[in-house]
Amino acid sequence: MKALKALLLTLCCALVVVPFVGIVATSLSTREQIVREGGFVIIPDQITFAAYEALFTGGVVPRAVGVSVFITAVGTALSLTTTTLLAYGLSRPGSLGHRPVLTLVVGALLFTPGIIPGYLTVSTLGLLDSYWAVILPAVVSAFNVVILRAFFMEIPAELVESARIDGAGDWQILTRIVLPLSKAVLSVIGLFYAVGYWNAFFTALLYLNDAAKWPVQLVLRTYVVNQQQLGVDQVGAGSLPPQEALQMAILVISIVPILLVYPFVQRHFTKGVLVGAVKG
């Protein structure tokens, strides 16, 4: 029975691990082997870093990774701050404009603007071709506000009240009492935001005309979706790395940084998700 369980678990793990291994292995393989093995290599005969060299010497990919890190870091910080403030305000009954603001938030949950209204707003605000165009439209997610508000409302009223009796204002209550109790949910929401910013490519495509400002996901897309490495009429490609290796290499480059974030928030993650699920 135990052996069967082990086998089953190994199979499940393999389902997740094998594609990852394949991506890394293909990115390190030669053209001959990739073609021979139908485009997906599990064990490379001969390891070559040609695809990574090509990506890093081009100058596009390192810069794009930098842009993505910036957008993700600044965006997540801003998002967490604004979402926390909004959710806290909405969690205190009787706060100014409580109902109308809540209605707006729920409204934003139900209706999302189309491409063109979004573009016109960003363009009118003069944000085109600026990183803020990718960050600001996504800075507050109504969904996360609702989750966080629900969590804040579950914090025992007695705690807040006793703080108030001790003379604490709202600001102190938020920073000294509510936030320290909400680490788990904040890290989960922070992760949601971070992954969202890291993966943002469509807003970047629409709002950033200058390709030098593109984040890594948009660059990745030009490698993976366009299907063609070269273009290509009248082209001699010489000994360039094969398209599949390039695609897989940039995939690796785009996955690794965000993957590195997980271990830091993992211990909060299970708890945070459960909290949101049960009490939300």
Binding site: E32, N209, A211, L230, A237
Partner: protein
């Protein structure tokens, strides 16, 4: 945050952005794009270039010039930059990974120097062109040069309608600069074929400069090295012989099939039957390919062939890597554009024995060759419109375009396409071969602003160049165009519904071939196609063909 779902919603929003485009118009603009007006346009006088003499000459039917090696030394056509300062902005597409930004891109810097101006490019991946274009035109801040259409000049296939109305209000009518003999001021533009210019005509004027391509379009590539090894007759004389050919070259145990996908079979068998290329116009009635008897017959034959297992088994997978299968020898035939010749040689892994050529379709019952189909995109890849500007500015931009259209064989072409010798390419066996820097830095999309007439040239492989040329020479005289493209027609409904209608045909065809639907499902497919816009498109095109008096 953006999820897949919001993205799809966004795409849907882009698809219905037509009315918004209409709002750009002045209300009266709707009537400008009429057949009568477009028919009366004075097209640029054609004056073929004599700057470089090809090794194998093209002809007026659309056969392209061919070059066995890049002329050495290349002809220097210009003595200085076309412009003297300022900036030129352009919205272009690219099918390649995004190039490095200007400060890290010596090619771009050198290009600016040679053009005498600062080139500011908004480079958009071709897959996202439609969404980006719909947002671009909502703002008034347009670049000088805009590539509005993606691969199909008679409207944007991703569903942007009212293109002519938008052009009428926002773009320059170039007729006074290019019509008739006026084009001679720009000799490289005068060397572009009349067929290509026809595809830039809207609203009774010339509304852009074309990126010309050969009309030869798609052909059936064949792995001659494998066919020879197997010992099959490479040129079947009838459908029955073709079927035998496919059976003979297929060997599933050796991981080899006759063809990469069933779509390629449909393409070839319909040509054998003399089926319509896109549409058929008999002087009174316009019939779409899918409604024709030839399509029905071809479909039933292909269903049978698919059952026999001559098609690559993974061919229905999304984004099937057909080029790789062909290169790896997993398939002996693949239908692809003539422009793919060099890529197949460049990415070849079979060694020096690798040899490809074009397979001509025989007549279905034998008795000679069947006519092939010309490109469904006509004689262009795309065209580029000019933002409304004063005369002086328009002339400047045309001077720039004239420079960017320097023909194959010139030093200007060599630089524009390949960059600087030593840095971006090296000459090997008479052909430029990119370095890694060349591949990444030159993919600016400038070639999609305007281009010289295409030439047949497989770098470093004169034999393959000859094969490609000979094939094109053999088929071009009898090849048939799509009447809608050949007559430069525009249907608003077609420009909007092409993706939907194309989807009905493709999905239905695949369902039937893969055995998910019976052959009789074709009738339902046709009914759907007609009711979802096909009939309206037909009506719009028919009226235009009648007005033009096309027989």
């Amino acid at each position: 945050m953006l999820t897949r779902r919001t993205l799809l919603r966004g795409a849907a929003a882009a698809a219905v952005s037509g009315p918004l485009l209409a709002a750009c118009g002045d209300g009266g603009a709707d009537n400008q794009n009429t057949t009568e007006r477009n028919q009366g346009v004075r097209l640029p006088a054609y004056a073929p270039s004599t700057v470089v003499k090809p090794d194998l000459p093209g002809n007026a039917d659309g056969l392209l010039d061919a070059f066995l090696s890049y002329p050495d030394p290349p002809v220097q056509q210009f003595t200085g930059p076309p412009l003297t300062g300022g900036t030129v902005s352009a919205f272009v597409l690219t099918g390649s990974p995004v190039p490095p930004p200007k400060e890290n891109n010596p090619f771009w810097q050198e290009l600016d120097k040679r053009l005498g101006t600062e080139l500011k490019l908004t480079i958009t991946p071709s897959a996202e062109m439609a969404a980006k274009f719909s947002t671009l035109i909502t703002g008034d801040d347009l670049p000088d040069l805009i590539v509005p259409a993606l691969f199909l000049p008679n409207g944007v296939p991703a569903g942007i309608g009212n293109l002519p109305q938008w052009m009428a209000t926002k773009c320059t009518d170039l007729t006074e600069y290019l019509g008739g003999d006026a084009v001679k001021e720009y000799p490289n533009l005068a060397a572009i074929s009349t067929a290509a210019w026809k595809q830039c005509v809207y609203n009774g004027g010339i509304y852009g400069v074309p990126v010309p391509r050969g009309v030869a379009g798609t052909l059936m590539f064949r792995r001659d090295d494998i066919v020879q090894k197997v010992g099959a007759d490479p040129d079947p004389k009838s459908f029955a012989e073709f079927r035998d050919f496919c059976r003979k070259v297929t060997d599933a145990k050796a991981n080899r099939w006759a063809i990469v996908n069933a779509g390629g079979l449909m393409f070839l068998v319909q040509q054998m039957l003399g089926g319509p290329n896109g549409w058929r116009w008999d002087g009174a009635k316009l019939t779409h390919q899918v409604e024709s008897e030839e399509f029905r017959k071809a479909l039933s034959d292909v269903v049978a062939m698919y059952k026999e297992g001559v098609v690559h088994p993974d061919s229905f997978a999304g984004n099937a890597p057909t080029k790789r299968w062909f290169n790896a020898g997993e398939a002996v035939l693949t239908a692809d554009r003539y422009t793919a010749w060099p890529q197949y040689y460049a990415e070849n892994v079979a060694g020096p024995a690798f040899k490809i050529s074009g397979m001509r379709p025989p007549k279905y019952d034998g008795g000679g060759w069947a006519p092939t189909w010309q490109s469904s995109a006509g004689a262009t890849n795309n065209f580029t419109v000019f933002k409304k500007a004063d005369k002086g500015r328009v002339k400047e931009l045309l001077t720039l375009c004239n420079y960017l259209a320097a023909p194959f064989g010139t030093a200007e072409f060599l630089f524009r396409r390949y960059g600087v010798a030593g840095t971006h390419y090296t000459m090997q066996n008479g052909g430029p071969v990119y370095t890694q820097a060349g591949v990444t830095q030159t993919a600016l999309g400038v070639r999609y602003i305007v281009d010289a007439p295409d030439a047949i040239f497989i770098p470093g492989n004169p034999e393959a160049t000859k094969t490609s040329y000979e094939y094109q020479k053999a088929v071009i005289g009898t090849s048939v165009p799509d009447p809608v493209i050949a007559n430069g027609l525009f249907s608003d409904e077609w420009s909007r519904k092409q993706p939907v209608l194309g989807g009905i045909v493709n999905n239905g065809q695949n369902d039937i071939i893969a055995g998910r639907q019976p052959l009789t499902y074709l009738d339902e497919m046709i009914k759907n196609w007609r009711s979802q816009g096909g009939d309206k498109v037909r009506q719009e095109f028919t009226e235009q063909l009648q007005k033009l008096g096309v027989k």
